[in-house]
Symmetry: C2
Subunit: 487 residues, 2 copies
């Protein structure tokens, strides 16, 4: 047995074997590299040595401080060009750079704005002045406001910062606690919501989402979408089916425009703060949408801060509904995005697995739950790891201490995603891939790790087997080109 | 099989079973509590609920900020009274509150002091003025300096802060990086060294070390000691055997004075910066000491910052020496006190195990090394976990992310210790026990966890079986009294 000790003089050969055994256990540890891939790997290994020798190690820093270092790193440039496969954990209204929202969307006609009492903003498109909001200043037409100003840059910057957590200031000072950072997160979401739920913007925003991920060399996305009511200038509204249909049509259109983009699917999500009885209605609607949009709808999830929401077990009746009717509604539960060990929500990961979830969103607490961890591994239920999100939302400081560094070393099923890149000042998947590649193992990682992470994202997608095969073939072509072009 | 999924409607009974299975895997998860212990456990559980409900969660904060909260917590009071067993990872010159060094030692006659160019202090006892030090101000007799001052409190405070990392200022600002905090650590060590290597102080300091741990309800310690040269007022010096003999005699004397204290043993340590050829001589001396002081000497270790020292494998010739001669020199290697994954020193944990180490000092990186982790578990090689040390030396910020939180949940062999309490402003073992109990699991822990941690410290000590049995019996008596008195 390789794992018995006893001798006191170590045999160098056995030592080598154990080191190799450990390397083979990693994510990507068994990936065989072609001669060409080996050349690229050698280059990558040299870049990694340079990266860890730098005085400031980016994964140890808050992303807001690390971003300039990351963006100027040759590893980042390579990761950006790399075909990363799929983004499996991203949210509908946090995929597009906020700058686009301000420079493009808020410059459209009929855009009103008001200031809330607690210093956030709200937006609304309307042909005439909208109904006043409580705890908000009177509505102002942005067009008029800008016309009165000598310098609109300051205004636009304040609009930008109302819709993102990103800041140039010291993030530790601006966001001293999880409560503060989540509060700002929710405010930024509400500011964004008024813009993106205007029906024409809704469509454009989604199209721009796909564009930005496509430009970051992501070929397929699964978007967690709230399917909130959208509205028109005259105040008329559209229902969830309209949103789903718009997602479907826009996806088709985008694939037509970009034949090497594989597509997108939607995971219908609802806030975990709602009542258990309301969730029964929501799950029923999810089942209907699943029937009506089999191509586009991937499944169902609950969103919002776990620590302050209901635990999954509270919703057990509603969540059991589909199976009790013999209906297959795939689940993609957020779970374990908490550091409150032993609290009620701390069972969410186990419950997600018991409800047969297809993947686990985050699973940050997985290491403290050996039974849930074993279930996830044995049943091949991958974790969607979003390093920057967990850091900005203050679950971890130095990303080398992120649980996924351990999961990587053990070859646990996982994918890398970006959650809400616009909120964090990240872009597509590349920033998160950088943190994972450099932070979760550094020199212990190699090109094989990246290859397996990219392949995982297709393997663990909700696509049916025949489409997975097609997607994998498309990805392989892109990968081969990437390798050849970057030797 | 309990670990197969598949059904979509979870069976509540099976859910309960899995939750219980996970609870049984924890450190202490299989400890049966007596009716009396159950009463205390219920009280403890209530205190824990109150502790986690507080706005500021101490284990999430830097210990320098958390200490007042910890010290005023009823859990801390209980932990202080609790018989904690043994302290298995503490260093010779960092066990006594620095205040004692200043108020007691520096007020003794013949104490000289000088200021180094980089703002640290050096001390020396001498009948006449000592030889000048390079890069240091001229020596001043402290007695004279104090006589000239109106208010000596400021001076004494500056003396205190020269010998500890503890500060009232913001530790993140004072110690922005590992390099800075280690530099200060080494300076504080050098400041202390001049005082404690004065032979009469050496003896008193060790006696006071035992007193302070005894008062914290620790009954046995294993001290990692450098056995540096000690000196007398006339400049004459003593060798390592003198130090070892003094440790032995002082321990015996202390046990005579305190019959319910079990004793102490010494792990001879040397700095990992020395040359491989020098280590051969050191190991030979260690073997001689082991023969001459079988009762007191526990074994051998290498100390100092791992990232900047030689890896263990560099010393393989010297470390193989005892076994190659059929001689048993027990090892207690520091290993894995690093976050530099993939660096050369990152193999230290595996190498420590291959050299048949009896315990691992820290093993902070153990989770990223599944093979080393399995070896440690299967061979019952415990980790000496020092939470506050790892936090102050900047391996981890929020202690809930400390790897030992995971090890606790998996029932990995481990003990809790305090490394260099005087450097961190900690006292005995209670502060570290607080961090471990509240931070590594919180409400998932119970009295059984504490009981197993205390018993582990005896079980994993270097004591031979017959003495372990005696120590365990003594501990059990103390434990029973503790339980009865704190219902
Ligand atoms: Zn999410
Ligand atoms: Zn130590």
């Amino acid at each position: 047995c390789l794992l018995a000790l006893g001798m006191s003089i170590p045999d160098p050969g056995r030592r080598e074997e154990l080191i190799k055994l450990e390397a083979s256990m990693r994510v990507g540890g068994n990936v065989r590299l072609s001669p060409e891939e080996k050349l690229l790997d050698a280059r990558l290994s040299k870049l990694m040595q340079e990266e860890v020798a730098k005085e400031d190690f980016p994964p140890a820093l808050h992303f807001f401080k690390a971003r300039p270092l990351i963006r100027s790193s040759p590893i980042y440039s390579l990761l950006q060009k790399m075909p990363k496969g799929a983004a499996l954990h991203v949210h509908d209204f946090a995929m597009v750079d906020v700058e686009w929202l301000v420079r493009n969307v808020t410059y459209r006609p009929h855009c009103y704005m008001c200031y809330t009492d607690d210093g956030s903003l709200r937006f609304f498109f309307s042909s005439g002045p909208p109904k006043p909001l409580t705890q908000c200043s009177p509505w102002t037409l942005l067009e008029k406001l800008r016309a009165k100003m000598v310098n609109v840059t300051d205004l636009d910057n304040s609009l930008i910062s109302s819709m993102t957590l990103w800041t140039q200031e010291d993030p530790e000072v601006v966001y001293p606690s999880q409560d503060v950072v989540w509060k700002k997160f929710e405010q930024a979401f509400l500011a964004t919501l008024g813009l993106v739920s205007y029906a024409p913007v809704f469509k454009d925003y989604y199209h721009e989402s796909l564009s930005q991920f496509y430009r970051d060399n992501v070929m397929y996305v699964e978007v967690r979408a709230l399917l909130t009511q959208t509205y028109e200038l005259d105040g008329s509204t559209h229902d969830r089916a309209w949103s789903m249909k718009t997602y479907q049509e826009t996806t088709r259109q985008f694939v037509e425009e970009h034949p090497d983009f594989f597509g997108a699917r939607i995971i219908y999500t609802v806030h975990r703060g709602i009542n258990a009885s309301v969730l029964i209605l929501v799950v029923k609607e999810a089942m209907k949408l699943q029937v009506d949009f089999p191509e586009t709808m991937a499944g169902f999830d609950l969103v919002g801060r776990e620590d302050t929401g209901w635990p999954l077990w509270y919703f057990r009746e509603a969540l059991s509904l589909p199976a009790s009717q013999g209906f297959k509604l795939p689940y993609f539960f957020h779970a374990g995005e908490t550091d409150q060990e032993g609290a009620q929500v701390d069972q969410n990961m186990l419950d997600a697995l018991l409800f047969n979830t297809s993947r686990i969103g985050h699973g940050f607490s997985v290491l403290r739950h050996p039974v849930a961890k074993n279930l996830s591994r044995l049943n091949g239920v991958p974790l969607e790891v979003c390093p920057i999100s967990n850091q900005v939302l203050k679950l971890v400081t130095d990303l080398r201490n992120h649980p996924a560094a351990v999961l990587m070393s053990e070859g646990h099923p996982l994918v890398i995603s970006s959650d809400d890149p616009s909120m964090f000042g990240a872009s597509g998947l590349s920033d998160d891939f950088y943190e994972a590649f450099v932070g979760f193992g550094g020199p212990s990682n190699n090109l094989g790790s990246l290859k397996e992470l990219a392949m995982n994202s297709i393997r663990y997608s909700s696509l049916p087997p025949n489409l997975q095969e097609k997607a994998m073939a498309l990805w392989q072509t892109k990968w081969n080109t990437f390798v050849t072009e970057n030797l």
